[in-house]
């Protein structure tokens, strides 16, 4: 029984690119349990913050530390789903198998586990289809299956439904809720207030590259503590 | 089939020769006869005489078979070749447009013909490629007392090409060109060219064969190379050379020392 990789601790993290400061002075801890929504307007720095947490970017100042070190094992235990799913030029099943192969799963077990993951998201009937001809919603579900197949402890999602129509978006939300119920820690960036409400337990509100507010979902929606958050709520009327 | 088998047993030699021996078709006729008798495969790299001698100097060939006597003797004097043997000769012919703008057709004095071409400023194509033919051409200009370095005009086309391309060029621009008879006889694109001057003693074109010096280049296949030379100058080899005809005409005349 291996130890949890949480909490993830960010200590005064900053990120600048080409001289431009994008993230500044972020200190927080991501704990197990409650699903966390990273909320903010477009350009607030949510995506960069997600990538810093996932490990795709190195902070230019401060530190990002998981509870357990070791790069290789880390990869398997926290996964990320992007706004635009990137699939390899092979079948849906093969894409999941690829992820399992990278994670070091034994060759004989990969296919069975991959099929199981596809079934979890309702894609088992499309297993042999070339992944790139699937619809946007189906590809995003496939990305979730691919991430899920590794049974990660933490699942990062960067605006996973931003490019999808409402029906497909709903399907994705259903899957995310199922993962949450199964015990995976969800950290999701979104600018969609309705989605935040439906899926999240707590909110981290990001504005201008800084974490400006952090509260439980109910508290945040009832009474945002900061002026920026309030303005954001006013501008983004939940319509779903 | 038997030839290939025999060759596989005895090995091969590399011969640097000239475009005239290849393009006249002589080698196609000659080499299978030698290979059948000896089992030795002969690989010929056919380039200009100057380049063939350079290949020999580099040790990239075992035998050199060219037609520029002064250069061959220099090759031996430098210690690059073992010994020079006479093999055969043919002659050069001065070829030109059938309209004969320089008025030299049918004459026998090639030096006088060159003078006439020069004074009439009629187009003349030179190989300009340090080949045996090129050197022969330069010799005739010298005998005619014409200093090309001073007297070169647009009438003198220095093409830097092999015999075939030079003939193509001459055909294309209605120019005179010095050619070896062998290449001329097998040349297919005559386009209005015809022999203007032939038979002059100074058009005599002797071929010599030399073994590249194994003392200089350890990789030279001296036994196999010498076997080829010996065959060329032997009665069967000499007869094979005399037997080669194009359109009923003999191209090369064997003249190895008896």
């Amino acid at each position: 029984m291996s130890a949890s990789i949480l909490p993830l601790v960010l200590d005064n993290v900053g990120y600048a690119s080409n001289g431009q400061a994008i993230i500044g002075g972020v200190s927080l801890a991501i704990e197990a349990g409650a699903s966390t929504i990273i909320l903010g307007a477009n350009g607030a720095g949510k995506s960069v913050l997600m990538r810093l947490m996932h490990g795709l970017l190195e902070p230019t100042s401060g530190s990002v530390k998981w509870s357990e070190t070791g790069h290789a094992s880390l990869r398997r235990r926290q996964a990320m789903v992007f706004q635009r799913p990137v699939m390899l030029r092979r079948s849906a099943l093969a894409n999941v198998v690829y992820a399992l192969e990278l994670a070091g799963v034994e060759a004989g077990e990969r296919e069975a586990q991959a099929r199981g993951a596809l079934a979890e998201v309702g894609l088992q009937h499309l297993a042999e289809r070339p992944a790139r001809v699937l619809s946007g919603g189906e590809q995003q579900r496939l990305a979730l299956a691919r991430a899920w197949a590794l049974h990660p402890e933490v699942l990062f999602l960067d605006e996973p439904t931003a490019n999808l129509d409402p029906t497909a978006a709903r399907e994705i939300e259903t899957v995310i809720k199922a993962f949450d119920a199964a015990g995976t820690k969800i950290v999701m960036a979104t600018h969609n207030l309705g989605q935040a409400r439906r899926l999240g337990d707590e909110v981290i509100y990001v504005h201008g590259g800084r974490v400006v507010e952090r509260a439980s979902i109910d508290q945040f929606f009832a009474r945002p503590a900061t002026a920026e958050a309030a303005a954001f709520m006013k501008g983004e009327l939940p319509w779903v | 089939m038997g030839v290939a088998l025999a060759a596989a047993l005895a090995g091969f030699i590399t011969v640097a020769s000239t475009t005239s021996t290849e393009q006249s078709g002589l080698l196609r006729h000659l080499l299978p006869l030698f290979t059948a008798q000896s089992g030795i495969e002969v690989r010929v790299v056919a380039v200009g005489t100057g380049q063939a001698l350079d290949i020999g100097r580099r040790g990239d060939a075992d035998v050199v078979f060219v037609h520029a006597r002064p250069l061959e003797e220099k090759f031996i004097a430098e210690g690059e070749g073992v010994q020079r043997f006479d093999v055969m000769y043919n002659d050069f012919v001065l070829v030109g447009p059938s309209s004969d703008p320089a008025g030299v057709a049918g004459t026998k004095d090639v030096v006088a013909a060159f003078r006439k071409i020069h004074s009439a400023r009629v187009p003349f194509v030179s190989r300009g490629d340090k080949s045996g033919t090129h050197f022969a051409e330069l010799e005739i200009w010298k005998l005619a007392g014409i200093d090309l370095a001073k007297d070169k005009g647009p009438w003198y086309r220095d093409t830097g090409q092999g015999m075939g391309p030079a003939l193509n060029t001459a055909a294309g621009m209605g120019a005179y060109v010095l050619a070896d008879r062998g290449t001329w006889l097998s040349f297919r694109n005559r386009a209005g060219l015809a022999i203007a001057v032939q038979g002059d003693q100074r058009l005599f074109n002797p071929y010599g064969v030399m073994l590249v010096n194994p003392a200089r280049h350890a990789n030279v296949k001296k036994e196999l190379g010498q076997a080829f030379i010996d065959w060329l100058i032997s009665p069967p080899g000499q007869k094979a050379i005399a037997d080669y005809k194009v359109g009923g005409e003999q191209l090369f005349f064997p003249n190895a020392a008896k």
């Binding site: 398997r76 079948s91 790139r132 | 690989r43 056919a46 990239d60 990789n219």
Partner: protein, 230 residues
């Protein structure tokens, strides 16, 4: 037109000899392209994916080397492989081996430069996802190469086109030896210089037909695979 018809008729009369010339041409050019791909693809992938100081300079030089004149490559390889040169001991000069070496040198920059471009574009699309899944370094490069295989086929075909078309390099290092190093292009050059233009034209048509057939086959394979894999 009649020259072409006459040429084709004469070409087919050559039969066995023509067959040897065609087979040798394919052996030399396909071998060169294979070697150039084995070295050039990884080189292109490395340049596409890795950032290092001087990278831009390397890319510029590599692109420029696509325009290497074949006759210059032939001359340099000749000087290297000559007995008087550094690699003379190999005894490769005037053999098909030398021709393969020269064509590999000629074709390598083309395949590497075009592969780099295709893979750099692909990397832009795949980088985040692959790194997120844990694919790094060589594993990522191999995955990228396999996924970009259709664009890479085009790079390889460009290399094949260059190899089958050139005459300068193979003429110098091969010596156009009858029955040993004579290929389509050097045969065409020889027949032209002999003034046998119809035969040269006929050979030229055969050469073009072969290259066309190779390209058509590659296109069919590409389309079939695309249907299967997306």
């Amino acid at each position: 037109m009649s020259a072409i018809a006459e040429g084709l008729r004469r070409v087919f009369q050559l039969d066995i000899e023509l067959w040897h010339i065609v087979v040798l041409s394919l052996e030399v050019s396909l071998s060169a392209v294979l070697l150039a791909t084995l070295v050039g693809l990884p080189l292109g992938a490395l340049l596409a994916v890795k950032r290092f100081s001087g990278r831009r300079g390397v890319i510029v030089v590599l692109n420029a080397l696509m325009g290497l004149p074949p006759v210059v490559v032939g001359l340099v390889v000749y000087l290297m492989l000559s007995r008087a040169g550094p690699l003379g001991e190999l005894g490769l000069l005037f053999t098909p081996g030398a021709m393969i070496v020269a064509q590999t040198v000629l074709v390598l920059p083309i395949i590497a430069a075009l592969a780099r471009q295709a893979l750099e574009d692909a990397w832009r699309e795949y980088e985040e996802q692959l790194r997120s899944l844990g694919a790094e370094g060589v594993k990522a490069a191999l995955t990228l190469i396999w996924d970009a295989r259709f664009s890479l086929i085009t790079a390889v075909l460009a290399g094949l086109g260059r190899a089958s078309a050139e005459v300068g390099a193979v003429m110098i290092v091969g010596g156009n030896i009858d029955g040993v190093t004579r290929v389509m292009t050097t045969a065409i050059a020889l027949e032209t210089s002999k003034g046998d233009l119809p035969l040269a034209l006929g050979l030229g048509f055969i050469l073009i037909a072969i290259v066309l057939a190779l390209n058509a086959a590659a296109q069919l394979i590409k389309e079939a695979a695309q249907r299967r894999f997306g």
